[in-house]
C-alpha cells in the first residue's frame, strides 16, 4: 500500500544539532529539524532569530561549525552551494538577486544549463528544449510577455516571481522560499501563495520563511518557531502559535 510506504519513508531533510557562530555571537544553537516529503513547512521567528542564517547554512552559502545535515539520504556536510543545488535543494533570496545584465529568458536559462543539464545520468536537454522550458517556467509565473525584458523593468512582485521561477528551474525536491512576500500588497501575497501552492501540488516540498502571519498560517501544514538561535516550537500551526514561549517572544512578557 502506498500510504504505508510513505509513512515509513525517511524524512527528506534531517538536520541534527546544527550550530553557527559569528565570532562570539551564537546565531544558531543545536537546531534539530526534519522535513518530510511533500510538506509545507512554515519557519517563523522575530528579526535576528536565525531563520535566514539557517537557510544559508542548509544551502551552503554559510558554513555551520557543528551538526549534520542529511538531504534525500545524502550527507550535505562539506558540499558547496552549487553542489547542493544540483542535489535538488533550491532557494530564493530574501532580497531578489536577479542576473541584471540578462533578459528573463537567460535568467532562467542559467539554472537549466547548470543544474538540469549538469546532473550525471540525466537526459540532457537540447538548446531548443531549454528555451521552451524557460518560456514554460515564465508562463507559470505570468512573466512570459516580459521574457525579453531585463529585471530592471520588473515590479517588486514580478521580481519575486522571477526569483521563484529561477529557483524552480533547478528542478528542486526542496525549496526554501526566504521572505518571498515581504513588502508586497495583499493581492500580491495571494498571487505568490498561489504559485507556491501549485509548486507544492507538483511535488516540491516547501519551507516558507515569512513574517506575514496570515500567509504562513494559511500556507503551512506545520510550523517551526526560532527565537534567538533556538527552536522553541515545532508542530501544527494553530498549536505552535499558542505555545506560551512563542507568545512571549512575539508579544513580550
Amino acid at each position: 500500500m502506498p500510504e504505508a510506504v510513505s509513512a515509513t519513508q525517511p524524512p527528506l531533510l534531517e538536520v541534527k544539532g546544527l550550530g553557527k557562530r559569528f565570532g562570539g555571537f551564537v546565531a544558531l544553537d543545536g537546531i534539530d529539524l526534519s522535513v518530510a516529503r511533500g510538506e509545507r513547512l512554515g519557519l517563523i521567528g522575530p528579526n535576528g532569530s536565525g531563520k535566514s542564517t539557517l537557510v544559508n547554512c542548509l544551502c551552503g552559502t554559510l558554513h555551520n561549525e557543528t551538526g549534520t545535515v542529511v538531504f534525500d539520504g545524502k550527507s550535505l556536510n562539506g558540499l558547496i552551494a552549487h553542489e547542493r543545488t544540483r542535489l535538488g535543494l533550491a532557494r530564493s533570496f530574501q532580497l531578489p538577486k536577479p542576473f541584471h545584465s540578462m533578459d528573463l529568458l537567460d535568467n532562467i536559462r542559467v539554472p537549466l544549463l547548470y543544474t538540469v543539464n549538469a546532473r550525471p545520468g540525466h537526459h540532457h536537454l537540447s538548446a531548443a528544449a531549454i528555451t521552451a522550458r524557460c518560456e514554460e517556467l515564465l508562463t507559470h509565473v505570468n512573466l512570459a510577455d516580459k521574457a525579453r525584458r531585463r529585471p530592471r523593468d520588473l515590479t517588486q512582485v514580478e521580481m519575486r516571481k522571477l526569483e521563484l521561477a529561477r529557483a524552480v528551474a533547478t528542478q528542486p525536491t526542496l525549496l526554501f522560499a526566504d521572505e518571498a512576500m515581504a513588502g508586497l500588497s495583499h493581492s500580491e501575497i495571494e498571487e505568490i501563495l498561489a504559485v507556491l501552492m501549485r509548486l507544492n501540488e507538483e511535488g516540491i516540498t516547501i519551507v516558507l520563511i515569512e513574517h506575514i502571519m496570515s500567509a504562513v498560517m494559511s500556507f503551512s501544514t506545520r510550523l517551526v518557531v526560532l527565537v534567538a538561535g533556538h527552536k522553541i516550537a515545532d508542530g501544527l500551526p494553530q498549536e505552535a502559535i499558542r505555545n506560551p514561549e512563542v507568545e512571549r517572544a512575539y508579544l513580550g512578557e
Binding site: C59, G60, T61, I80, A81, H82, T85, R86, A90, R91, F93, K97, P98, F99, H100, S101, M102, D106, R109, V110, P111, L113, Y114, T115, N117, A118, R166, A167, A169, T170
Partner: protein
C-alpha cells in the same frame, strides 16, 4: 551571423589581411605600428574575458604580458647555456613554440590569481592584481639570468620564416594570435560558459544557488585571460630586440588593456577590438606626429569621457541608437 560560420570567416579575414598587407605594403613602419595595434587586440580581448565577461578587474596586465616575454627570453638563452654547460648542441627554439610556453607560464600565473578571487572581490581583487605586477617585476629585476634591471639583448634570427623581413613574420604571428583570441572570446560569449561567467558578474551568490560552479568558472577565466596575455608578450623580445623590466612591465599595458574594452564596450567581443584599433591607431599616430609622451594622456582623457558619457562604450552607444530607431 551563425555560430558555425564565425571561425571560418575570422580565419579567412586574418589570412586575407596577412596576404594583402604582404602584397601591397612594403613600408616597414606600417608593420611596426600595426604589430602594436594587433598586440593590443590580443591584450584587451584577453582582459575582457575576465574583466568584461566575469566582472573581475585586472590591473596586472603587465605581469602576465612580461611573463610571456621573459619566458621567451629564457628559452632564447637556453641553447647557448646548454652548450657552455654540457656541451650539448641544441637548435634554437622557434618563436611559435615560445609563444606556446609563454601562454603556459602566464596561464599558470592566471590560475594562481584565480584562487585569489576566493577571498577577494571587487576593488580588493583589482588591488591584488596591481600588487602581483609589482611582485613579478621585482623578481625579474633581481633575476640576473635574464639581465636583471639592465635588461637583455635579443638577437633576431638572420632569416625570417615565411619569407620577407622578420618584422613581417612577427606581424603575421600577432595577426594569428589576434584571430585566435577574438575567436575564443566570441565562442565563450555565445556558450554555456559565457552565460555562467555573466551570472558570476551579476551576482555570485545567485549564480551558486543556480548551480553554477563559480570557482571553477573563475579559474577558467583567469587562466585563459592570463595565458592569452602571456602569448601576446612572448614575441616582444624579438620585436624590441632589447628586453628590460621597466618597459616590459610598463603601466601603459595595464592602462590600455583596461581602457580599450571600456571605450569599445565590455559586453561583446567586438568592443575590445574596436577599442584597440581606435586607441592603438590614435596612439601610433600621436607618437609620430606629436610625441610619444602624449599617449597616456590621450587614453586618460578618452577614458574619462567614455566613463561619463558612454559607460557601455561604443558598442553600447550603437545598441541604444539602434533601439531608439526601432522604437
Amino acid at each position: 551571423m551563425r555560430n558555425s560560420l564565425f571561425w571560418p570567416i575570422i580565419v579567412a579575414v586574418g589570412l586575407a589581411f596577412i596576404v594583402l598587407t604582404r602584397l601591397y605594403l612594403t613600408n616597414e613602419y606600417f608593420y611596426f605600428a600595426g604589430y602594436v595595434v594587433l598586440e593590443y587586440i590580443v591584450l584587451s580581448t584577453a582582459w575582457n574575458i575576465l574583466g568584461g565577461y566575469t566582472g573581475y578587474t585586472n590591473f596586472g596586465t603587465g605581469a602576465f604580458f612580461a611573463s610571456g616575454a621573459y619566458t621567451s627570453a629564457v628559452l632564447h638563452k637556453m641553447p647557448a647555456v646548454l652548450h657552455t654547460a654540457f656541451g650539448w648542441t641544441v637548435t634554437p627554439v622557434p618563436l611559435p613554440v615560445m609563444i606556446l610556453f609563454g601562454g603556459l607560464v602566464s596561464g599558470a600565473m592566471g590560475l594562481g590569481t584565480g584562487y585569489l578571487s576566493l577571498r577577494l572581490r571587487g576593488v580588493f581583487f583589482a588591488i591584488a592584481t596591481l600588487a602581483l605586477s609589482i611582485v613579478v617585476q621585482t623578481l625579474i629585476v633581481n633575476w640576473d639570468f635574464v639581465g636583471g634591471s639592465r635588461g637583455i639583448y635579443i638577437i633576431r634570427p638572420a632569416l625570417a620564416p615565411l619569407g620577407g623581413g622578420y618584422i613581417q613574420y612577427l606581424f603575421t604571428l600577432m595577426t594569428l594570435l589576434a584571430v585566435g583570441a577574438v575567436g575564443i572570446a566570441r565562442s565563450i560569449e555565445r556558450s554555456r560558459l559565457g552565460l555562467g561567467l555573466a551570472s558570476i558578474r551579476d551576482d555570485e551568490l545567485a549564480a551558486e544557488a543556480s548551480g553554477v560552479p563559480t570557482l571553477k568558472l573563475k579559474l577558467i577565466a583567469t587562466t585563459l585571460s592570463g595565458g592569452l596575455m602571456g602569448m601576446a608578450g612572448a614575441p616582444l623580445p624579438y620585436y624590441v630586440t632589447y628586453l628590460d623590466p621597466a618597459s616590459s612591465f610598463n603601466l601603459s599595458y595595464a592602462v590600455n588593456s583596461v581602457a580599450m574594452p571600456v571605450i569599445g564596450g565590455m559586453t561583446s567581443w567586438i568592443g575590445p577590438v574596436i577599442g584597440s584599433i581606435l586607441l592603438g591607431t590614435i596612439q601610433q599616430l600621436a607618437t609620430v606626429t606629436i610625441s610619444s609622451a602624449l599617449n597616456l594622456l590621450i587614453v586618460g582623457v578618452l577614458l574619462i569621457l567614455f566613463v561619463i558619457i558612454a559607460p557601455n562604450g561604443i558598442v553600447g552607444l550603437v545598441q541604444s541608437w539602434r533601439r531608439k530607431r526601432e522604437a
